[in-house]
C-alpha cells in the first residue's frame, strides 16, 4: 500500500491543490482519498486503471470539500514565498521577461487561481486533469465519471472562460 501511496501522491496532490487551492485542505483530501480507496478496494473492478479510479475518489472528495466551504477564502500565498518575499522570488524565477516566468509572481498565481475559481468544480476538475496532469480524454472520462463528449465540452468551455479572464496576463 505504501508503494501505491508514494507512487501517485505527487500527481494527486497537484490535481487536488489545483482544485482546492489550500495546502492543508489538499493534504487532507489526498489522505482521505487513499484511506477511502484502501477501505473500498473491493469496489475497484479493474475496469479503469488504479490511478484514474483513485483520481475519481480525489476529485469527488475535493468537490465535496469545496461545496462545504464554498465561501471560504483561505489561500495563504505567503506560504509559497521564500523568506525574501516577492522580490526575491521574482528574481529567482526561471527565465526572463516572458509571460510564463512572470506567472511565478504570487499576484499572477493568485489571478490564475481566481480565474479557475470562477469555474464550476466539474469544469475545474477537467481542465486541471488535462493541463496539470496531462490525462487523455478517456482517462479524464474515467476519473470524473462522465462521457467523452462531456469531457470535451467542459474542456472547451473552461479554456474559453479562463482565456477570457486571463486575457490581461496572456496579452496579444
Amino acid at each position: 500500500m505504501r508503494v501505491l501511496v508514494e507512487r501517485y501522491q505527487d500527481r494527486l496532490v497537484a490535481v487536488v491543490v489545483g482544485m482546492v487551492r489550500n495546502h492543508d485542505d489538499a493534504l487532507e483530501v489526498v489522505q482521505e482519498t487513499y484511506i477511502k480507496a484502501f477501505r473500498n478496494l473491493d469496489g475497484f473492478r479493474g475496469q479503469s486503471s488504479f490511478y484514474t479510479w483513485i483520481y475519481r475518489i480525489a476529485v469527488n472528495q475535493a468537490i465535496d470539500l469545496k461545496r462545504r466551504e464554498s465561501r471560504r477564502v483561505s489561500v495563504e500565498f505567503d506560504e509559497v514565498l521564500p523568506p525574501g518575499g516577492v522580490d526575491e522570488w521574482s528574481q529567482s524565477s526561471v527565465g526572463g521577461n516572458d509571460t510564463f516566468s512572470r506567472v511565478r509572481n504570487r499576484e499572477l498565481v493568485a489571478k490564475v487561481y481566481e480565474a479557475m475559481e470562477s469555474l464550476t468544480a466539474n469544469h475545474r476538475a477537467v481542465i486541471i486533469l488535462r493541463e496539470v496532469d496531462g490525462l487523455s480524454y478517456e482517462e479524464i472520462s474515467d476519473a470524473v465519471g462522465c462521457s467523452l463528449g462531456t469531457v470535451m465540452s467542459r474542456l472547451h468551455y473552461a479554456r474559453k472562460a479562463l482565456q477570457l479572464r486571463l486575457e490581461e496576463i496572456i496579452g496579444s
Binding site: M1, R2, V5, E6, Q9, D10, V13, A14, V17, G18, R21, H23, A26, L27, V30, Q31, E32, Y34, I35, F38, R39, E79, V80, T99, F100, V103, R104, L108, V109, V112, Y113, M116, I127, I128, R130, E131, V132, S136, Y137, M152, L155, H156, R159, L162, Q163, L166, I169, I170
Partner: protein
C-alpha cells in the same frame, strides 16, 4: 470534417481542443497542421489556448512546491489503523482475555506473546501514535481527528489532566473530557462497557493509554504501570 480533407477556419475551431490535446487521428492532425501553417488567425487561437494551459500548469506547480507530502503515508496508515481499532474494539474476543490481567497500575508491561500477535499490531500502532502525539490540553489535535469515533474518544480522554478520575456516559464532551483521567464509556464504536484511561508516567513522562472492556485489554506500547 472529412478525414484528410482540407480544413477551413470553421473546421479548425471545431477541433482545436482535440488538436491541442493530441486526440485527433493522424490524417486529421496533418490537415489541421496544414491549415495552421497558412492561417495566422487560427495560429493566434492556438497560441492563446496554449498560453492559458501553461499559466494554469505553472501556477498549480508553484503551489504544489510548497506542499510537504512526506507525511502522507503515515497519515494514511494511521487513518486505516483507526478503522481497524474501531472494528477490533467492537468485536471483543469470545475466547477470553488476550492478555494476562496485568493492565492495572502496578503491573509490568504488555509483553505477552498474544499481545504481540499480528492481529493486534494495527491496534497497538494507533495507541502508540496517540500516546506520542497527544499532549495534555491539546484538544485542537483531538478535534481534527474526530471523524473516527473511537479514536476521537481516546484522544479526548487522553487529553485529560492527571490525578483526576471520573465517570461519564457516551456523551463525553470536550469540557468533561478535559477533567478526566479515566472514563467509563457506555459505547465505543457500538460495543458496550469500555473503560478508557490515560496516564503520564512519572519517570519517562510518556503518555499511556489503556482500554479495557472486561474481556480484552489494549495498551500503548511499552506501557508500564
Amino acid at each position: 470534417m472529412k478525414s484528410g480533407a482540407p480544413v477551413n477556419c470553421h473546421d479548425f475551431e471545431d477541433r482545436v481542443h482535440a488538436f491541442l490535446d493530441d486526440e485527433l487521428p493522424d490524417t486529421e492532425l496533418a490537415a489541421m497542421r496544414g491549415h495552421l501553417g497558412d492561417c495566422p488567425r487560427c495560429e493566434k487561437i492556438v497560441t492563446g489556448f496554449q498560453k492559458t494551459g501553461a499559466l494554469i500548469s505553472t501556477a498549480v506547480t508553484e503551489m504544489v512546491t510548497a506542499v510537504d507530502v512526506s507525511g502522507i503515508w503515515q497519515a494514511v496508515e494511521s487513518g486505516l489503523d483507526a478503522g481497524v481499532i474501531a472494528a477490533e474494539l467492537a468485536t471483543p474476543s469470545a475466547s477470553g482475555r488476550e492478555h494476562p490481567a496485568q493492565g492495572h497500575p502496578g503491573s509490568s508491561r504488555w509483553d505477552s506473546p498474544r499481545w504481540d500477535s499480528p492481529r493486534w499490531d494495527s491496534v497497538r500502532r494507533v495507541l502508540d501514535s496517540i500516546a506520542t502525539r497527544v499532549s495534555p490540553g491539546n484538544l485542537g489535535w483531538a478535534g481534527a481527528a474526530a471523524s473516527v469515533t473511537a479514536l476521537a474518544m481516546l484522544m479526548l480522554l487522553s487529553a485529560g489532566q492527571d490525578g483526576q478520575v471520573g465517570d461519564t456516559g457516551r456523551n463525553v464532551t470536550v469540557a468533561q473530557a478535559a477533567g478526566l483521567k479515566s472514563a467509563r464509556l457506555d459505547s465505543l464504536s457500538g460495543a458496550p462497557g469500555y473503560t478508557v484511561s490515560s496516564w503520564v508516567q512519572p519517570r519517562t513522562k510518556a503518555r499511556v493509554i489503556w482500554v479495557d472492556n472486561g474481556v480484552n485489554e489494549f495498551a500503548s506500547r511499552d506501557a508500564r504501570y
